[in-house]
């Protein structure tokens, strides 16, 4: 299985051309201050029996903007392909701005394809749990964020 780690923002096109090819794509991004970060990933299935798992995670702080745009494209006659796209963003400040766009364009019927996106803050329950164990708020947040970003 091919593993791809996305390090830079911008546009990434991943093509699956060989039948039976498998790819795992991972990207984690943190923005702070007045960062403007946009990550675009296109996963293009061009052969049958291709598999892809894409996971994008991000943490947006301060006044930063974070945008994830993922797109799964499955060409005609690419039967038995599987593709899964996840976009998760932790939004830690009210001034920060997050955008998640997970697109699907499916032109074959014999496929399994799905995507999931979520945007939320650190949940109060998680914080409470750690703080009841003696961590202060800052430490607890730090721990949750590092756990969130862990692949």
């Amino acid at each position: 299985m091919r593993k791809i780690k996305l390090k830079k923002p911008g546009k990434h096109v991943i093509e699956l051309k060989k039948p039976g090819e498998e790819v795992e794509i991972v990207g984690t991004f943190e923005t702070q201050g007045t960062d403007r970060v946009s990550v675009e990933v296109i996963i293009h299935h061009q052969a049958p029996r291709t598999h892809a798992t894409t996971t994008l995670k991000g943490v947006a702080k301060d006044q930063s903007h974070l945008k994830f745009a993922g797109r799964i494209v499955i060409d005609p006659d690419c039967g038995q392909s599987n593709s899964f796209l996840t976009e998760r963003i932790l939004l830690l400040s009210d001034q920060a701005h997050a955008e998640a766009i997970p697109d699907l364009e499916i032109l074959t019927d014999d496929v399994k394809c799905s995507h999931a996106a979520s945007i939320s803050n650190i949940s109060d329950e998680h914080l409470f749990y750690l703080m009841s164990r003696g961590l202060n708020k800052k430490q607890a947040e730090k721990l949750i964020i590092s756990g969130f970003l862990e692949p």
């Binding site: 766009i101 997970p102 699907l104 995507h115 999931a116 979520s118 803050n121």
Partner: protein, 476 residues
């Protein structure tokens, strides 16, 4: 195996097979009182306005909207609209002289058409009021006395303007301004017909109100305009149904529906759209929801050549709720580009969008949605679920969701899946003695079941039959 014997044919089945759901033929337009020349210009708009004896401000609004329409480019996204020729469309038809309130007075040909669609029968049994619109004008309307007594108004938009000019002036074009998009501008310029509904505070209209739209003339445009005002604590369910006969040239249906849901009020708006497959269906629908109000759009798109329709709500008051339940069925040569828009402006607002689409025979179904949570909408929640079913290799399914979040105290979730009918599911049902065709129908009906449950019973039954009908002979 008697338990699993072939399903009983009910009366509804027989009726369906006969003619009630056939798109049918049109009748001659020779008896129409007025048909405008094809093409759109200032004179046509002035003509429409003078026919309706409208106040001056409305004519001015129409002309202003016409200028906006001319200045806006055609949308280059979504469905292919390049075949629409605005110069060939006739913008205004007047099939009868006036709206009548007794079914006996409806002209024979018009009556026949609606009789076959089962309107008068349904009216007696399950509806609180009915409006039927043929081409540009509402030809028949009624409202049961029980509701009229409480001050519920269910009028055609033209009557509404005449009778409640102040309300129309206050609300018309406020949630969907003419400049919203090219087709809302077109509608604002040439609108005719549609419904005006006002429900006074605290009145619960327990039976649905129904409007029925039919296009009868060739190369025509239907531009209905609906305004629904649900006052504080009131509740209403409005259903619209659409059909059109088979023509060789394309027609255009471009409605605008504006809904105002006041404090604590509830409104459900259901569309059952079964246009013939040569109609462009480009509709703008939006609701403005105040504190603790609730808006539910249920949207069933089965027909038309191309549909672009994104029911939306602006949740402007604290604790407001919105829901969109949308189903699209795209067959051969159809493109259903449907979705939803959820705009959260106030704290503690929540919305749910559930979209189910089925593509078959080379059809294309798209979900296109926007969820925007503004800086003041803290503690808001949104869930979007899109499921797509592809029935054959030629069909296509797309999902284009956009989530925008401007504050951190929110929960936004999006999920989408695309799949086909599982071989294991088919195998299970067929091993129990069900034919492949019936098994497929069962699976498709099960796929959309939770949406159909939201319809009143009579409609749910009909909708299941309609899906069966569409699925007939779908095994390649």
């Amino acid at each position: 195996m008697a338990r699993f014997a072939k399903k009983q044919t009910t009366d509804l089945d027989k009726k369906l097979k006969q003619d009630s759901y056939e798109h049918g033929d049109s009748f001659s337009t020779a008896d129409y009182k007025h048909i405008s020349k094809p093409g759109l210009n200032k004179e046509i708009i002035e003509e429409i306005s003078s026919f309706k004896n409208e106040p001056k401000w409305m004519l001015q609004q129409r002309l202003k909207a016409y200028e906006i329409f001319k200045s806006k480019p055609m949308p280059n996204w979504g469905v292919d609209l390049s075949e629409i020729n605005f110069d060939k469309i006739r913008y205004y038809f007047r099939p009868t002289e006036d709206q009548v309130s007794s079914w006996q007075d409806v002209p024979l040909e018009v009556k026949d058409t609606f009789d076959r669609l089962g309107i008068p029968e349904a009216e007696q049994k399950v509806l609180a009021g009915v409006k039927t619109q043929l081409d540009s004008e509402v030809v028949y309307g009624s409202l049961k006395n029980v509701w009229a007594k409480y001050g519920v108004e269910f009028l055609s938009m033209d009557e509404g303007l005449a009778k409640h000019e102040d309300l129309v002036k206050e609300y018309f074009g406020k949630v969907i301004p003419a400049a919203d998009n090219k087709f809302s501008a077109l509608n604002a310029a040439v609108w005719s017909g549609g419904s005006f509904v006002y429900v006074p505070p605290g009145v619960d209209v327990q039976l649905p109100l129904q409007a029925y739209f039919r296009i009868n003339a060739e190369s025509s445009g239907q531009f209905e305009r609906t305004l629904i005002i649900v006052d504080e604590g009131a509740k209403v369910h409005y259903i619209e149904g659409c059909t059109a006969p088979n023509f060789s040239s394309n027609s255009l249906h471009s409605g605008v529906i504006e809904i105002f849901v006041k404090k604590g009020a509830q409104c459900q708006y259901t569309t059952v759209q079964n246009w013939y497959k040569n109609i462009y269906n480009l509709v703008t629908q939006r609701a403005f929801v105040e504190e603790e109000g609730q808006m539910i759009w249920t949207d069933f798109n089965m027909g038309s050549k191309a549909t672009m329709k994104y029911p939306g709500f602006i949740l402007a008051g604290k604790g407001a709720k919105g829901e969109v339940l949308s189903m699209a069925l795209a067959g051969a040569d159809q493109h259903q580009d449907t979705g939803a828009k959820a705009i959260h402006l106030a704290p503690h607002t929540s919305s749910t969008i559930i979209s189910k689409s089925i593509s078959k025979g080379g059809g294309r179904a798209s979900y296109r949605g926007l969820v925007s949570i503004g800086p003041k909408a803290h503690h808001s929640k949104n869930t979007v679920i899109c499921d797509a079913l592809l029935l054959d290799p030629e069909s296509r399914s797309d999902t284009y969701p956009v989530d925008k979040v401007f504050n951190s105290q929110v929960e936004v979730q999006h999920e989408a899946t695309v799949s086909k009918i599982g071989d294991d599911q088919l195998f299970y049902l067929m091993s129990r003695g069900i034919s492949e065709e019936d098994a497929r129908k069962m699976i498709v009906n099960g796929f959309v079941e939770d949406l159909i449950k939201k319809l009143p019973l009579e409609y749910a039954v009909e909708m299941n039959r309609l899906i069966d009908h569409e699925m007939e002979g779908s095994i390649g």
